[in-house]
Chain length 450, copies 2
């Protein structure tokens, strides 16, 4: 049986409560959450009344923020409480962060004292820190617990915990001292101490650490869950890898945008306002436009050379374009390796060597093809010009490749973001240098008087 | 105490076996793996002799492929067997895939019959498929098992399983029928059937599914583990999210490279050969160089206009550059949204609307700034030329933005890779059109006779 919106609508209007409950027990809840959002508010509220709180909690967590707001607006206080009861704390923090102030207030008023404390804790951390994305639903054991005590705690806390694979061990002052894998204690003697099975070489992050660092740590150490501690070393939360995947996605989008000279934009493409869109793009477009004055000046300086041999103008786009493409190839490769932590400033000589060798080989190929092309395809010019044009290609590609690769490394040294600095700056500089190389070679080798 | 390579070397040369064992039990194994790779082969072999097999297995899995090869070369048959015994099957497949044929043969000869079967199974799937990255270390239960039977199986299989959070339930023909969360059965009556606690709405992937699809499914459904089934629906493996994070990283690198006109490269930047580097870059550089013939032709066609008002040439880099930057902004944004599945071809009208509105607003800003700049900064020209140049900016930015956003959507319709098609093609086309727009407006509005 395939579940469609129409089928759900029909069953709701026929009040087929039992069948609806079965469907939400049997079918995939993520898929159902997508369908359910297409229902009318009235149908949605009916569904939320008849389904188990556990199910409605999960549905709610998968809704987009628009639907979450509408529901909170429509809900009575006890209904909000039921939702809060059935959400993991990181999901609560996530939906509240997106919500307008009046609705946040409504949620906080409806919450129990315990819930309110938890929400306020999570909301108190700045955006994009470990604290703001952590969950407070974990299993906590105490140093000196016996296996029997530990299993009892796991039994009671495990139902609401995000994971029970690993349980966290704290000392008398709630400082995190180790972790215990469930599978290592599950089948041991009941009166053994958990301390014997505790791993103390765990990796943890601090509440104010940037979420990007959390992602890096989890990836480096292949972790599914990472504990979060505060300044006083106290254990206060965990972050699971599924939430980190969203973080990584955001960071990658930001990096890709930066390389294309786009400044960070809050919303996704289809949701963004025209104003937001313009803001994210206009800054670099203006900078780049104004910096192209440089190329203009250089061109103006060679007006006489152009007047002597007008055919030279025709090759400007090719030289500038090829140099620009070569530079963006090497800079993008290096930027990506930097963000993967595969290259650092100590590799600078290796990078220069790689780019020089690559450029020389590339240059030879481009030189050959360029001469052939200039001789075969119009506009037809003499062999002397073809040689000079193609030679300029070699030199400017060599320059662009080395420069493109070094600029991101320079950014790292200056503690700037390589993607934001190297991407847009590169174009203007490479354009300018390619023109200088081209005209210098033309004047020198073709014997133009200026 | 901080562990350094020097400290390890000293302890090895003093044969402080007990202290070394303690260090490898107490400190983080991922960090230690990094240090240990800086030791001499002799020291490394000594370490592998004295440490527990469990520890050496994990160390080995974190080594780079060079060190893994050296060790396999040096190991005796029983040492290879110990390593294989202590690796998860996906780690085995990963290191064998990287290894030269003679060493693969050595590993296969040293392996037990059971190990050999497993390795051959994993090696039989094409690269980048779910089968090639899955692990065969999981807990498998049978439909109709009682809780007591299940717990017993978890106890025996759990030690070598990658996760025991979820256990997989198969029927008499080993077809996957559901999964059981450990926390849902752990504290139930011993003679209940697991069927009662089984979730049947699980998501699974097929062995031949592309790893990118696996990553998407796991992200969409927020999964930490996903089961893998073959064509006959039989359950044969699991994929854990930490392996999928590596897949995502690779895919993102490939996408970023494609947008910068770089073809896929096997090795990482520092490891790649000069030949490999040239291969990945030369294709698009040549295509783009040759396609710039288009811009040359266009420029050649306007030689007379340039002869009439030579100052016009000076603005060519600015117009082409700004149009190119604008086009790459819109295309990169759309390409990223397509790869995040946030935009599809059905959004085409929305995209056109967004780009038109954004461009007009951007155009107005650019127009104003451009006029000011041309009037203030040299080379000085008349207001008429400033107006025409700035007007060309508006028109060519509008064109580039819309065109840049539509090209990736067109690629999707043509079942081509948006990043590979849109990125490099865009530049040449935008250059050509920007020139045509510029000269058409110049000739029309400045009354140049051609």
């Amino acid at each position: 049986m395939e579940i469609t919106v129409e089928l759900l609508q029909e069953m709701i209007s026929n009040k087929q409560i039992k069948r609806l409950r079965e469907i939400f027990d049997d079918f995939n809840i993520v898929d159902l959450a997508e369908l359910v959002q297409e229902l009318s508010l009235q149908d949605l509220l009916f569904l939320f009344k008849i389904l188990r709180n556990e199910i409605t909690g999960i549905l709610f967590s998968y809704f987009d923020s628009e639907h979450q707001e509408t529901l909170i607006e429509s809900f009575a206080s006890h209904e909000i409480q039921d939702i809060l009861d059935n959400l993991f704390s990181d999901d609560i923090a996530e939906f509240i962060e997106e919500m307008p102030a009046n609705l946040v207030k409504k949620v906080l008023i409806s919450a129990t004292a315990e819930q309110r404390k938890e929400i306020n804790l999570l909301l108190s951390y700045p955006e994009n820190t470990a604290g703001s994305i952590m969950s407070t639903d974990f299993v906590e054991l105490k140093k000196g617990d016996t296996i029997a005590q530990a299993i009892k705690k796991i039994k009671s806390q495990g139902k609401i915990a995000e994971t029970i694979n690993d349980c966290y061990v704290v000392d008398g002052e709630r400082r995190l001292v180790g972790l215990v894998a469930l599978k290592s204690i599950l089948f041991q003697e009941a009166d053994d101490l958990i301390d014997e099975y505790m791993e103390m070489d765990f990796v943890a992050v601090k509440t104010h650490d940037d979420q990007e660092l959390v992602a890096q740590q989890m990836q480096h150490y292949d972790l599914l869950v990472i504990p979060v501690i505060n300044e006083a070393q106290r254990f206060i939360g965990i972050i699971t890898v599924d939430d980190i995947m969203d973080v990584l996605e955001e960071e990658v989008t930001e990096d890709i945008h930066k390389m294309a000279a786009i400044r960070p934009i809050e919303d996704s493409y289809l949701q963004a306002s025209v104003m937001g869109m313009v803001k994210s793009r206009v800054f670099w477009l203006l900078i780049l436009m104004i910096s192209s004055t440089l190329a203009e000046h250089i061109l103006a300086g060679y007006e006489e050379a152009l007047a002597t041999i007008p055919a030279l103008a025709a090759f400007i786009p090719m030289i500038m374009g090829t140099a620009g493409n070569a530079g963006s190839q090497s800079s993008v490769m290096v930027i990506r390796e930097i963000s993967l932590k595969e290259i650092s400033i100590k590799d600078i000589w290796k990078v220069i060597k790689i780019e020089t060798h690559t450029s020389l080989l590339l240059g030879i190929v481009l030189f050959g093809v360029s001469i052939l092309r200039i001789m075969i395809l119009p506009p037809s010019v003499g062999l002397d010009i073809a040689l000079v044009v193609s030679l300029s290609l070699i030199v400017s590609v060599l320059f662009s490749n080395v420069f493109g690769a070094l600029l991101p490394l320079l950014a790292v040294v200056l503690k700037q973001d390589p993607a934001a600095m190297a991407g847009p700056l590169l174009t203007s500089l490479v354009d300018a240098f390619a023109l200088i190389i081209y005209f210098t070679l033309c004047i020198g080798l073709l014997g133009i008087a200026i």
